[in-house]
């Protein structure tokens, strides 16, 4: 959520806040993640990633300001918008079909208002956070949402059939045109706000055009409600409309907030659009089930035993006071009355976390683990997998990991990430990567491509099997290829490793297994462009150092050589040696032409000739 530093300071603190970066750090170490800071004119916008368990009470400036007050100790002092009015008899009626859909629905009619251009401060605040000012009424609802986290809505009362609001399930096939001009087909699991003839809004997600407010609006119906979070989430996901409102509702703010927001929105609208003829009616409040009051009992010993701290009763009291919690203390036991809006706090563990994060994880002492009894067990499967891998590497095989999702198989996903790979693999297939790697053989300086992979494969019943797949160019005829006793007799084999390992003896340590020095090599990006291969063979006097040939070659190849020239043939006859070198040319950032390579080869051949080496 994007938060304005200036907004926090002006609305919630009399004392001066630390600099924006310090505010962001305080939040990062004690409350939430910070995505970034961005200067915006005279303000700084902090992008706060509120954790999922606090999304019900902290997706707002006030929520973030409260956290900040708790962790910095700077007193929280909330400003209120003033407006004078005395409510009159209501002419609005509200009917909630099922309290499951909306535990609380508050409506209020206001008549005889006059829309004026929203004041600069309001436009500024919205625009700083990347929102567009639309008109005083819409801006007022957006402001309330960003300030205290409760979505509200305003309908043009004169566009309703009558002042009767229904909260009901949509009828299958019922449609609504939303404020952004989309026509949406509803299902009978979606909740709508409707007048007698049709839907006015998709509850908690998006308003409709039927009762849209405009500059000409004079009479309005305000809505501040609590909607079923699962319902809102499902509807908004299905129709692909995610809004600031749906995001709040799906995280279930307390229904108590709806009442506060209605009062807030009323004051704001009266102060922005009120005239001496304005009539504010009493709110109609359909509230089925308020949250039960919760108490959590936790003792300081328990807190210390989980955090590994030595907090005193006073220190814990101090943190509870910062939260502003109501609590009773009996010895080291705290009985805390949980504030209504902290729906995430229900058990002692929740309180331990609150104490821990405010105290600060940086202050928690790092404590060495104690010794364990001396009967550690070792994993046989891991042991042999590792031994087999090492033996394969010794035998010239390189290890690959390929995706578990494949175009064919027996076990299909109901929701594949890629339509062309909907199956979990039933075998490890290296045919494609083998062909690919064969093209890189010279580039990699390999005599032959050999690859292997160890991983699970799946059958139709979702049973999984550990297999070893090996793939090689040819099986050597002269000597058997048997890494770790596994006989490789075909160029492609898939071996059931579960069976192999099952027959091997038990183990009692990893001795010698993990001593192999791991690579500390840093990754080097490699060229994605094709390479060109040329061999050059030349007769040289027997006493010539082969390095002389290599350095002579390198003089003309510059950095076009993808790897050092590799000796591919050596032949001695009549006091002379013939050395054949294979050269691999490649640009990092473009395609190399045959002609370019031809010119280089010509220069090398000339240089060889000048040295008296006979090019073959």
């Amino acid at each position: 959520m994007k938060v304005s530093y200036k907004w926090l300071q002006e609305e919630y603190f009399d004392g001066k806040l630390p600099a924006p970066q310090e505010v962001a750090d305080a939040l990062l170490f004690h409350s939430f993640e910070i995505e970034g800071l961005e200067e915006n004119g005279k303000d700084v916008v902090i992008d706060v990633d509120v954790l999922p368990n606090r999304a019900h009470d902290c997706l707002s400036h006030r929520g973030v300001a409260r956290e900040l007050a708790i962790i910095t100790g700077i007193p929280f002092s909330e400003k209120k918008i003033e407006a004078n009015f005395s409510p009159s008899e209501t002419t609005l009626s509200v009917d909630v079909q099922d309290a499951e859909l909306s535990r609380r629905y508050i409506g209020r009619a206001i008549r005889n208002i006059e829309l004026k251009d929203p004041p600069e401060w309001l436009k500024d605040r919205l625009e700083t956070l990347g929102q567009r000012s639309i008109n005083a009424l819409v801006d007022a609802t957006n402001y309330v949402l960003l300030d205290i986290g409760q979505p509200t809505h305003v309908f043009d009362a004169n566009k309703l059939d009558s002042l009767k609001i229904n909260v009901r399930l949509a009828k299958t096939g019922e449609t609504i045109e939303t404020l952004d001009g989309k026509k949406i087909e509803l299902q009978n699991t979606d909740t709508v706000i409707a007048d007698e003839t049709g839907a006015l809004a998709i509850a908690g997600v998006k308003g409709g055009t039927k009762a849209e407010v405009t500059e000409a609006t004079t009479d309005v119906v305000l809505e501040s409600a609590h909607f079923n979070p699962v319902n809102v989430r499902k509807t908004s996901r299905r129709i692909g409309v995610l809004t600031d409102a749906s995001k709040r509702f799906e995280n279930e703010p307390t229904p108590e907030l709806a009442e506060e927001a209605m009062e807030y929105l009323t004051r704001l609208i009266v102060s922005l659009c009120g005239t001496d003829k304005t009539v504010v009616e009493y709110a109609v409040d359909k509230y089925s089930t308020p949250n039960a009051q919760r108490k959590v009992v936790v003792d300081v010993e328990h807190i210390n035993k989980l955090l590994g701290t030595e907090l005193s009763v006073e220190e814990v009291s101090d943190i509870c006071n910062r939260f502003g919690w109501d609590y009773q203390k009996m010895g080291d036991e705290f009985s805390i009355t949980i504030p209504d809006d902290r729906l995430d706090l229900a058990s002692p563990a929740d309180i331990v976390e609150e104490i821990g994060r405010v105290y600060g994880y940086a202050s928690i002492p790092s404590t060495p683990l104690p010794e364990m009894p001396d009967d550690q067990s070792f994993n046989k499967e891991f042991y042999y997998i590792t031994q087999i891998k090492h033996a394969l590497v010794e035998a010239g095989f390189s290890e690959v990991y390929t995706p578990s999702f494949q175009p064919s198989g027996k076990l299909r996903m109901a929701n594949p990430v890629a339509q062309d790979r909907p199956f979990l693999r039933e075998k490890i297939d290296h045919s494609e990567i083998f062909i690919m790697n064969n093209r890189f053989k010279d580039l990699l300086g390999l005599d032959e491509v050999r690859v292997f992979e160890i991983g699970n494969v799946f059958d139709a019943k979702s049973d999984e099997r550990l297999v070893l797949s090996v793939c090689l160019e040819s099986v050597p005829k002269d000597q058997p290829l048997e890494p770790f006793g596994i006989k490789i007799t075909e160029t492609y084999m898939q071996i059931d490793l579960g069976k192999v390992i099952g027959n091997l003896p038990e183990i009692s340590s990893y001795e010698g297994l993990l001593d192999r020095a791991n690579s500390v090599q840093m990754y080097e990006p490699f060229s994605q462009y094709p390479s060109v291969v040329r061999d050059i063979a030349a007769w040289v006097p027997e006493n010539t150092n082969r390095e002389e040939l290599v350095s002579c070659i390198k003089k003309y190849t510059g950095d076009l050589l993808a790897r050092t020239p590799r000796l591919v043939d050596e032949y001695t006859k009549d006091g002379r040696v013939s050395y054949a070198h294979r050269l691999v040319f490649q640009y990092f950032d473009k395609t190399l032409t045959d002609q370019e390579v031809g010119e280089i080869m010509k220069k090398i051949e000339e240089a060889f000739a000048n040295k008296g080496w006979e090019v073959r």
Binding site: R233, F378, V393, E399, N437
Partner: protein, 235 residues
């Protein structure tokens, strides 16, 4: 053929991880890649209507209900705890690693399947604390990246731990998020048949791919799964 092959950097990272955790008396145990929905979610205190269960994040099997490709190695926590309780082997320290699956669009830092390692330690309450977790993770990162590695904890949220923390490491000039951890949630202990008034534990989960990427300066996780020896043979 006299040339040697190469071990994939994921495997090299796994071997390093096993060696470090083994020295700290963590025992390795594997869980299945196809898990029950119960082990993967319910028993880990992930509510039925939790957004993580949405089709966007979790793969579901076509025609088989109640099972799924695990989204986290944490799925092995409760079955393992139950087994240890059955055998009367508490305290214990265990770890598990393997492929996990997430239904996310792939990019340089996300793959739809990747490797994770999970650590879990349980003891009597008071003998295992957030302080022990902090020490364990410090040791882990120091052995992985060198003595002068810097680590910090900050609040994080995972339904199966509380307090929950995110762990950052200062690497190559900036703080990078490397793992999530916390004290085992009392509901999870209860689900495993352990009384949270008597027992406590900590758990941590690390992306092996991320450890590998940091170690070798690999910019794109997808390089790992392309079977390209121009990549593998560098290590």
């Amino acid at each position: 053929m006299s040339q040697k092959g190469h071990l994939h950097p994921i495997t090299q990272t796994i071997e390093h991880v096993v060696s470090i955790l083994n020295d700290m008396c963590f025992e390795l145990d594997f869980g299945p890649e196809i898990e029950t929905e119960e082990n993967n979610f319910d028993l880990l205190n992930v509510p039925k209507d939790h957004p993580a269960r949405d089709m966007q994040d979790t793969f579901f099997l076509d025609g088989i209900s109640g099972k799924l490709p695990r989204t986290q190695t944490s799925a092995h926590q409760v079955p393992y705890m139950r087994m240890k309780k059955e055998k009367g082997e508490i305290p214990f320290r265990m770890f598990s690693y393997g492929r996990v699956f997430r239904n996310e669009a792939t990019d340089a830092t996300h793959e739809s399947s990747f490797f994770q390692v999970e650590g879990l330690a349980v003891d009597e309450k008071g003998k295992i604390t957030l302080g022990h977790l902090k020490w364990t993770l410090e040791q882990f990162l120091k052995r992985m990246y060198g003595e002068d590695v810097k680590m910090r904890l900050r609040p994080g949220y995972f339904p199966f731990v509380e307090p929950g923390v995110e762990v950052d490491m200062f690497f190559a000039g900036r703080w990078v998020e490397v793992l999530g951890a916390g004290m085992v949630h009392p509901v999870v202990l209860k689900n495993a048949g352990l009384d949270p008034d008597k027992y406590a534990g900590f758990a941590f989960g690390v992306g092996i791919d991320r450890l590998m990427m940091a170690k070798h300066g690999i910019p794109d996780v997808r390089l790992s799964y392309q079977g390209d020896l121009r990549f593998v043979n560098q290590f």
